[in-house]
């Protein structure tokens, strides 16, 4: 059975449409819900989690509508974005309380498994108020997993994490997905999810704009045109050197000092620009990406996707 199914789902707040006519199915494995802030990702997750009613359309989780149906939490775990947890409890007390609220038959075994799975054993007896952002995130995941749910929803799980914590979380999600669970998470930063496998749903302005697997999205990310502003000791010499390189698609002198360089190979440009300037005896003074806004990245992905719905 499809774990999560949305059919023509919309949600609006007064005159503001947060989610617009989304049709989507999410099955076992890892699925990322990506898009810039305000795209409607959290609204979709809240509706799936039963914390918001769709204004229009039908939404089911395991065949049942989650809104005003607390029994859905027997098969669904939620890791909310907000960092608020019962900070006066230890990590273990928090997970144990959650296990008891789920009325599990073997509370202690479930607590131990969830804490081990999230690698929180060493800090389990410390108060949550002393935890780092990453540890809080992991203990929330442990609490959400304690009743062994088929479906796990995570709202911006990588927010505020350092790279090491992020890698750990990605590995954890991959492991959970490989176990046959349905993992759906939201993120507004594409680079955050570069190591994950699975599928991706791109949302822009409340609409489901594109979908595909992570590898296809990654390829698009690295091959998309990038624009840099470069300032050096000799801009003309650098322009001449750049024109001869295959990754350069355009070079333009700007009104102020410097060059605007377009490249279709982000990796090659970044790897070679330093040696190129050094070999030509040019001092590199400034190198700035100029089109890194999330909207431009997601806009590019939307336009490039063969499965784009043309929204």
């Amino acid at each position: 059975m499809t774990a999560i199914e949305l059919v023509n789902v919309s949600r609006w707040y007064g005159n503001v449409v947060a989610v617009n006519d989304i049709t989507m199915t999410v099955g076992p494995g890892v699925t990322g819900l990506l898009g810039p802030n305000g795209a409607g990702k959290s609204t979709i997750l809240h509706m799936i989690a039963g914390f918001l009613a769709p204004s229009k359309g039908t939404l089911t989780v395991g065949g049942e509508a989650p809104w005003q149906h607390p029994d859905i939490y027997r098969k669904l775990g939620l890791v909310p974005e907000k960092d608020s947890v019962y900070a006066f409890l230890t990590g273990e007390e928090f997970v144990r309380a959650t296990a008891k609220l789920h009325q599990l038959s073997n509370v202690e075994q479930a607590v131990r498994q969830a804490i081990d799975m999230t690698d929180m054993s060493d800090a389990a007896n410390r108060k949550i108020s002393t935890y780092s952002k990453g540890m809080r995130q992991r203990i929330k995941v442990a609490a959400a997993l304690v009743h062994d749910p088929e479906i796990l929803l995570l709202d911006e799980p990588f927010n505020g994490m350092d790279p090491r914590q992020r890698l750990y979380m990605m590995d954890l999600l991959d492991r959970l997905g490989a176990q046959g669970r349905t993992i759906l998470f939201s993120s507004h930063i594409l680079e955050e999810v570069e190591r994950l496998s699975g599928t991706i749903q791109v949302m822009v302005a409340g609409r489901l704009a594109a979908s595909g697997d992570f590898r296809a999205i990654r390829r698009l990310m690295t091959s998309r045109p990038h624009v840099f502003h470069v300032r050096t000791s000799d801009d003309r010499a650098l322009a001449a050197a750049l024109v001869g390189r295959p990754y350069t698609t355009a070079v333009e002198f700007t009104d102020k000092n410097g060059l605007q360089v377009r490249t279709d190979d982000f990796g090659a440009f970044c790897a070679q620009i330093a040696s190129l300037t050094r070999d030509n005896g040019i001092a590199l003074r400034e190198l700035l990406p100029t089109d890194e806004s999330l909207e431009s990245v997601f806009g590019y992905l939307v336009d490039s996707q063969p499965s784009s719905q043309g929204n």
């Binding site: 949600r11 609006w12 707040y13 503001v16 947060a18 989610v19 802030n37 305000g38 795209a39 409607g40 990702k41 959290s42 609204t43 979709i44 809240h46 989690a49 914390f51 918001l52 009613a53 005003q68 607390p70 029994d71 939490y73 027997r74 669904l76 775990g77 939620l78 909310p80 907000k82 960092d83 608020s84 947890v85 019962y86 006066f88 409890l89 928090f94 309380a97 959650t98 008891k100 609220l101 789920h102 009325q103 929330k140 609490a143 959400a144």
Partner: protein
Amino acid sequence: MLFNPVVAQLTLRATLGRRRAILFALPAVILIALTLVLRETHPAGGASWPANVLGNFGFSVLLPLTALVIGTGVLGAEIDDGSAIHLLATPIHRKTIIVTKFAVAAVLTMVFAAVPELIAGLLAPHSSGLGTALFVGALAGSVIYTAVFVMASVLTTRAIMVGLLYVLVWEALLANVVGGARILSIAHYSLGIANAIHPDSQLQAGLTLSTSVILGIVFTVGALVVATRSLSAFALKGDPT
């Protein structure tokens, strides 16, 4: 089951662990300290101060304000800071959450408002009858007030403001000036029950025992039903902008 011990334990630890716990412990200490001071300075029998201290301060200030701080805090604080979602994302039914939170709030209000009222009544000269009657009235008041304030905390994020307006404007001002307003005054229901046990010429509710009890039950049950319905429709805001 309507009562969940895990929810109760979490609520108790959260409520007593917060800094605002000082807010509801302090008035009780003031009431008892004030009674002790007046007993030393005005020990003569027949003095009117026990009715003023126990009735006007204990009933009109201590009881409603303690119930307000505790009643709006047991669930409202968790809703405000977002931690309530960890409780709501479990199969525990909303009715159980509301009843448990209410029960904890009512018991805490009894401990921090009704019991000090009894202690002060026993300490004040010739006032054990009045103190006992006000204690029983305060027990009933603890139940009704907290049910209403728990409901307010689910309905609005400004529950404390709404509660203060109710206590200070409706009960303390309007209900004492306009007789009809007493029909919707929890303070007068509580006093009506106390009057039935020990009438005092300075403390008159203007309501009969049966009216006070019936309206108190209607208020309590009604508030819990509305709170449960409202919590069942609890929604998280998304990112509409």
